[in-house]
């Protein structure tokens, strides 16, 4: 029994990693020079680095989303939070003389306040997460437009632009930033009991309350963390285009983030947090996009491919399919035993 469980666990873990590997190899066969890395002016360039660069916002949001989904929640408002925090960054940089670090701090703070709002609705008022975060999803872009005055605010700040497009030790600065955040999150969740508590809350909130876990506080914190991640992604996206577009910044990014979490094998009904695999999921999504674009397929295939992959993963993950496979394997074993 014990052996069986650990084996299944490994197959689940390996699937996204193997998919990513196959995807990269496959693309490399179709697109010559896909794997090539070159160093120009001390910075590394290449398609692989480009994938890392572009997947940063998705990876950050997916990180927050993985933790939220682990507690049986969902955060639909991250796209709106991205728009709000991008707007805050752009307006503060363009119209005040504040130090960029303070601007960054303000944007992150605003994102965390948005998360606190979601968390309060979910944890204190007991509203279902889909509904609670829907409110900010509907109103958030309106708020972002109020901040920018309905215009696309452009700005220039060397420090903030460096977050979007700069380099740190040869690697894109935003990739380094995201890697640090991911590493800290993994350390905090896996080296302390926090990760176990969160999975306990996601698995059964009532039982975890009975064993003495303050599930309300944890759920509140989880949404604040998701807001924090979305805020960073918002700053990166705004810094990337040197402006804030309240209507389109981070549009449908929440869906990409959820997709990354699902690819990682986490159930949407909570109880499991796979941080590393979620990042792999985000990389798979970006590699697919890049592969579609560089292989010469029209860009409009992107959405259809994404949709087919979600459906495929979901169907494979579903209990019905797994029971069917299990039954088949068992009958096969019985047949071979006899």
């Amino acid at each position: 029994m014990r052996l069986k469980r650990s084996m299944r666990w490994e197959a689940r873990t390996l699937a996204p990693i193997i998919s990513l590997f196959l995807l990269i190899v496959g693309t490399a066969l179709v697109v010559p020079g896909f794997l090539k890395l070159s160093i120009v002016d001390g910075h590394i360039y290449g398609s692989l680095i480009d994938i890392l660069h572009r997947s940063t916002p998705t990876a950050l949001i997916a990180l927050g989303m993985a933790v939220v989904i682990g507690t049986k929640g969902i955060d639909l408002s991250v796209g709106a939070i991205i728009a709000i925090c991008g707007a805050v960054t752009a307006v503060l940089t363009a119209s005040t003389e504040l130090h960029p670090l303070i601007v960054l701090g303000c944007a992150v703070l605003v994102g965390m306040v948005c998360g606190l709002w979601n968390g309060t609705l979910v944890a204190v008022f007991g509203i279902q997460p889909i509904v609670a975060t829907l409110i900010l999803m509907v109103a958030g872009r309106g708020i972002a437009q109020m901040i920018t005055g309905g215009q696309i605010v452009t700005f220039h700040s060397d420090f903030i632009n460096a977050i979007g497009n700069g380099f740190f030790m040869g690697l894109p600065a935003r990739v380094v930033l995201a890697a640090v955040i991911i590493a800290i999150t993994v350390l905090v969740l896996r080296k302390t009991a926090l990760g176990m508590f969160l999975e306990a809350v996601g698995g059964n909130s009532e039982t975890s309350r009975l064993v003495g876990i303050d599930s309300k506080l944890l759920i509140l914190m989880v949404y604040v963390f998701s807001g924090f991640c979305a805020a960073l992604a918002g700053v990166i996206i705004a810094a990337d285009i040197r402006g804030a577009d309240a209507n389109n910044a981070g549009l449908w990014l929440e869906l990409d983030a959820i997709l990354a979490v699902v690819i990682a094998g986490a159930s949407l009904s909570g109880g499991r947090i796979y941080l590393g695999l979620t990042i792999v999921g985000a990389l798979i999504i970006q590699t697919l996009t890049t592969a579609i674009l560089t292989s010469g397929l029209p860009a409009q295939y992107n959405l259809i491919v994404k949709a087919s992959i979600i459906l495929l993963v979901l169907l494979l993950q579903s209990k019905v399919t797994q029971d069917f496979i299990k039954a088949r394997v068992q009958s096969f074993r019985r047949a071979s035993d006899a």
Binding site: I130, Q145, Q300, Y301, L303, K306, I310, L314, S318, V320
Partner: protein, 338 residues
Amino acid sequence: MLNERYLPVIATLLVFILLYGYGMVEYKGFRDTLVFTNLLTDNAFLIVTAVGMSFVIISGGIDLSVGSMIAFVGVLLAYLITGLGIHPVYAAIIALFTATFFGMVMGVIIAYFEIQPFIVTLAGLFLFRGLAYMINLNSVPIDHELLVTLSEIYVPLPGRGGLTFIAMAMLALLAIGVVVAKRTRFGLNVYAVGGDVQSAALMGVPVKSTLVRIYALSGLYSGAAGVIFAIYTGSAYPLAAVGVELDAIAAVVIGGTLLTGGVGFVFGAFLGALIQGIIQTLIIFDGSLNSWWTKVAIGALLLMFILMQKAIVHFSRRYSGKNPEPPEQPAMEKVETT
């Protein structure tokens, strides 16, 4: 005694009357019937979408694919009419069949593979938008004399107002929706499934086929909304109706349907969509406010109604002496056929 189930709808009606009354007192032009009939015409596609969404939400599910479906149906119509030269009536029938079929497929995946409706319809959102892109990337006019004839149909009312064809089509679809929900076996089954899947299954409600039909119905209604939208704008654009799914969900919730399922009124969705329309109209009449206030106002209303529902559920459970919060039902997990 007044049933507490009617309270949300009555509150919605009050909000609608208050907003309309405010408009009549404040602006002379608002007193004309033209404002009301324009409200019906301009929000026809949203109301039709919301009617379909009501069934989904009453059954405890959610359909995020409706906005993409509207765009897809519009682009498909343009292709069939302008590209292939098919008569608009046949084109509309083909489009409606396609929409119903896609809705049914999503229903099958939700019902028979037991995957959350939220993520399945999310894949649908991607897929239909992608299909719309595949057919056509640009905004194209739909030229046919039938469309001109339809736009000339006009039933004048007292004052300057009058019912357009799409307003009448919307009212007919609304009436059908109300009758189906309240007067047919299928309608009863929808309420039963939304109330408690397990009890519904034990009482002999065909849960799975009901679910399939619900999503097929939502597909049909959002397809019809797509046809109405195409007549309304006289053109097709693959990026049309982005975010309509949120407006439709908001309309249903503001209309007094519980997002947990089991309780709600199709007619409430009509009021909910009209309230959104009236907020927009008021903002246009005011002239000094910007359009993004609409989003914020809708978000605030959404919050108000959700909190009100929460309070009603809480108090009605307390006074009827049942459990204040029954344990959450994992959808259909307990219903084993073996």
